[in-house]
Amino acid sequence: MSTRERLERAALAPILQTSRAYYVWVAFLLAVIGWGVYAYSVQAREGLVVTGMRDRISWGLYITTFVFFVGISHAGTLISAILRVSQAGWRTPITRMAEFITTVALICGALFVIIDLGRPDRVLNVILYGRWQSPIIWDVLAITTYITASIAYLFLPMIPDLALFRDRLAGRVAPWRTWLYGVLAVRWEGNSTQWRTMGAAITVAMILIIPIAVSVHTVVSWIFAMTLREPWNSTVFGAFFVAGAIFSGVATLIIVMAILRKVYHLEEYITEKHFRYLGYLLAAFGLIMIYGNLSEFVTTGYKLEGEEEFHFRQLFLGQFAGLYWYYFLGGLVAPGVLVLLPWTRNIWGIVAASVLVDVAMWVERYFIVVAGLRVPLMPYEPSNYAPTWVEWSIMLAGFALFALLISVFVKVFPILAVWEIAEEQEREKEPVARRPATEPALAGIQE
C-alpha cells in the first residue's frame, strides 16, 4: 500500500466506520445539551432572575464563556493562516482540525451573547437600529465577518479533499453524502487552472483572515475597556486579549488533536513532533501572557489610583486570590515548565499543560468580568456573584455543543488535509529545492 493510499484510507476512515462508542458519546452530548435547553427554557420563562447576576455584577458565566469561545477560535487562524503564510510545512496534518475549531467555537461563542440578553426576542434590533458607536456593534460586525471568513477559509483548502470524497465514496455511502460532496466539491477536477485559482484564493483568504482575527478579540476586549471601570481601563487590553486568545486556542487544538489522534488512529500523521512544536508555541504565548500581566498590574499597582487598591486586594489576596494564583502559577508558569522540561516534553505532558491552560484561560476571563464589575462605584458594600444551576447547565451545554459539532464535523468532512499532507510528504522525499508544479500558494503569489 502506497503512502498516498494509506493517507486516503486514514482520511476516509471516520466516514466509513462508526463505532458504538461514537453513538454513546453523541447521545451523552445530546443529553447534556438537552438539559441545557431545559435550563434555558426556565430562564426564558422567568427572566435572568434565575441567574446569579444582579445589577452590580451584571455579567457572569455567559459573557465569560463567550469571551473564552471567541478566544479558542483563534486556534484555526494561528495554526492555519500564520503557519501557512510562514510556509511551515509541519502544520499540514493539523490545519483542518484547527479550522474546525475556529468555526465551531465562533458559533458557540456567538450563541452565548444571545443567551445573555435580557430580550433575546429583540436581537434583530441590533441590525434594525444598530449604532456603529457602540462596542457591541463592533463585536457583531467583527464576529460575523470572522465567522464568514473562517467558513470560507475552512472551505477553500477543503475543496480538493471534498472532491476526493466525492470520487472515492461514490456509491459507498448514503445518498445525502454523495449529494453533499458533489455540491461542495464545486466540480473540482484537479486541473492546473483550478489549482491556480484555488491557490490564489487561499493566499488572499489567509492574509485577510489574520487582521480579522486580531480585530475580533481586540473589539471583544473593548466591550470592557470602553467603560469607565477602573480594572478594565487599560490600553494593553486588546493586545492582552489577543495573546490570551491564541494561547487558549493552541491549548484547545492540542487537546482536540490528541483526542482525534487516539480515536481515529492518526499516529502516522500527527506525531509527537506536532505536540512538541505546538507546545513551544504554548510556552512562548505563556511568556507573553506573563509579560502582559506584569505590564498591566505593575503600572496600575505602583500608583494604586482610585479603587485599584480594592481591586488588587480582591484579586491577589481576597475573594479571587485562589482563582488568580491558579491562573498565574497553574495556567501560565506550570504549562511552560511542563513543555520546557525534557522529561515532561512528551504528548502526555503537553496535553496536561494544555488542559491547565484552557481551564486557566476560562478562569482568567471569569475574574476579568466578575472582579472588574465587583469594584464598587459608589459608597455601597461590594456585591457578590455566585452562578446558579441554570448558568452552569447552559455553560456545560455550550461546551457539549462544541464537542458535538466537532464530533459531527469529523464524521462528515475530511479531518486531514489530504492534498496538503501529500504535497508535504513529496516535498520531504525530494528535498532538492523543486516545488511541485501544482503548488497553489506559490502560484497564487506569482499572480
Binding site: 451573547v113 429583540r122 457602540s134 469607565l228
Partner: protein, 316 residues
C-alpha cells in the same frame, strides 16, 4: 486565465449530466431561491420603517419644553446636602426615594434616587441622594448598541424599554451605579399595568430591560416638581432650568448659577468629564441639626409586595 477557466466550466457540464437531472436541479434551485427570498419578508416592513427613520417603538415624542422666548429648557437638579439628614430626623426611610417609588411604581429593589451614606474625613458620614446624573457626555448612551438609551434636547437621558435588548453594557458603563435591570417580572401594583408607557414614564415595567431615573421631564412640563423634590421633608432638592437660570425646591426660588457658585457646588466624579446635570452643595445635614456622627438610615421599603401577584423579588 480566469476567463478561460470560466469557459471550460461552462462548456463541460451539459455533456456529463442528463437532461432530466438538470431539470430537477433547476427546479430545486428555484425552490431554494424562493424560500431564501421569502424568509426575510416578515421583518421587511420593520427594516423599511427603520431605514426611513421611523421607530415602531414608543419614544419620548412630546415636544421639548421651551422658555417664553422659545429656548429649549435644560433641566437640572441641585441637591443641598446641608439639608439632607437621610431622613434621620423624620424617623422614616429616605422620603425622596419613597416618593419616587410611589410615583413611578419603581419596582423592588430599584432605588432610582438612592441615598448613599458616605464617609467624611474623620469618623462622620454624610448622606448623598443620588438620582441618575443626567450626564451631558453620557457613557451609557455612547455604548448602547440600539439607541435604546438616548439624550434628549432637554439634556436628560432616557431609556426606551420597547427597544432595549437587555445586553446591560450601559450598566457596565455607568460610573454612578444608577441603572437597574428587570431581572424578572418585577413586583408592581396591579394598577401600574393600566398606565400608558412612555420613555418618560416607565410604567408598566418590562422584563429583561434596563430602567433608571428619568428626571420627570413630563411632570416639569406640566408644571409640577418631580416626586423626589416633593417628597423631601427638608426641601433639600431643587429642580429647575439652566437655560432660564432658575430652580426651586417648592418653597424658595433661586437663580441657579448664583446659587451654585455661591455655595461651592460640585458634581459627582467631576474628573470623569461626564458633565452631570445634578449638582451638590457640600454638607452633612448640619442645617437641619444632624450630627455627622449619628450613622445609618432606615431601609427603603416597597409598599405593594403583597398586591403584586406572580412577581419574584430579588436583591440588588
Amino acid at each position: 486565465m480566469n476567463e478561460k477557466d470560466g469557459n471550460q466550466q461552462r462548456t463541460s457540464p451539459p455533456n456529463q449530466t442528463s437532461g432530466g437531472k438538470v431539470n430537477r436541479r433547476g427546479l430545486l434551485r428555484v425552490l431554494g431561491l424562493t424560500a431564501f427570498g421569502l424568509v426575510p419578508l416578515p421583518v421587511l416592513p420593520r427594516v423599511l420603517q427603520a431605514a426611513r427613520g421611523g421607530a415602531p417603538t414608543t419614544r419620548a415624542d412630546a415636544a421639548a419644553a421651551r422658555t417664553v422666548d422659545g429656548r429649549i429648557r435644560q433641566w437640572t437638579m441641585i441637591i443641598d446636602l446641608r439639608y439632607c439628614d437621610g431622613c434621620q430626623s423624620v424617623g422614616k426611610p429616605p422620603q425622596c426615594t419613597a416618593a419616587c417609588i410611589e410615583g413611578h411604581f419603581a419596582p423592588e429593589p430599584m432605588e432610582w434616587i438612592q441615598v448613599f451614606e458616605a464617609e467624611l474625613p474623620g469618623e462622620g458620614t454624610q448622606f448623598i441622594p443620588t438620582p441618575c446624573q443626567q450626564c451631558q457626555n453620557p457613557p451609557c448612551v455612547n455604548v448602547c448598541p440600539v439607541a435604546a438609551t438616548f439624550s434628549t434636547p432637554e439634556g436628560t437621558v432616557l431609556i426606551d424599554q420597547n427597544r432595549c435588548i437587555g445586553c446591560r453594557i450601559c450598566m457596565a458603563a455607568c460610573p454612578y451605579d444608577r441603572r437597574f435591570f428587570n431581572w424578572g417580572t418585577a413586583p408592581t401594583p396591579p394598577e401600574a399595568r393600566l398606565a400608558d408607557y412612555s420613555a418618560e414614564h416607565q410604567v408598566p415595567v418590562k422584563k429583561g430591560t434596563v430602567m433608571k431615573c428619568d428626571f420627570c421631564p413630563d411632570m416639569a412640563r406640566a408644571g409640577t416638581l418631580p416626586y423626589c423634590v416633593q417628597g423631601c421633608p427638608h426641601d433639600a432638592i431643587y429642580y429647575g432650568d439652566l437655560e432660564e437660570d432658575i430652580a426651586t425646591n417648592g418653597s424658595v426660588i433661586v437663580a441657579a448659577s448664583r446659587f451654585l457658585s455661591q455655595n461651592q457646588a460640585y458634581r459627582l466624579k467631576e474628573d470623569l468629564k461626564t458633565k452631570p446635570r445634578v449638582y451638590y452643595i457640600p454638607g452633612h445635614g448640619e442645617a437641619v441639626g444632624r450630627d455627622p456622627f449619628t450613622k445609618g438610615r432606615q431601609t427603603t421599603t416597597w409598599p405593594w409586595i403583597e398586591r403584586a401577584k406572580g412577581a419574584r423579588v430579588w436583591k440588588r
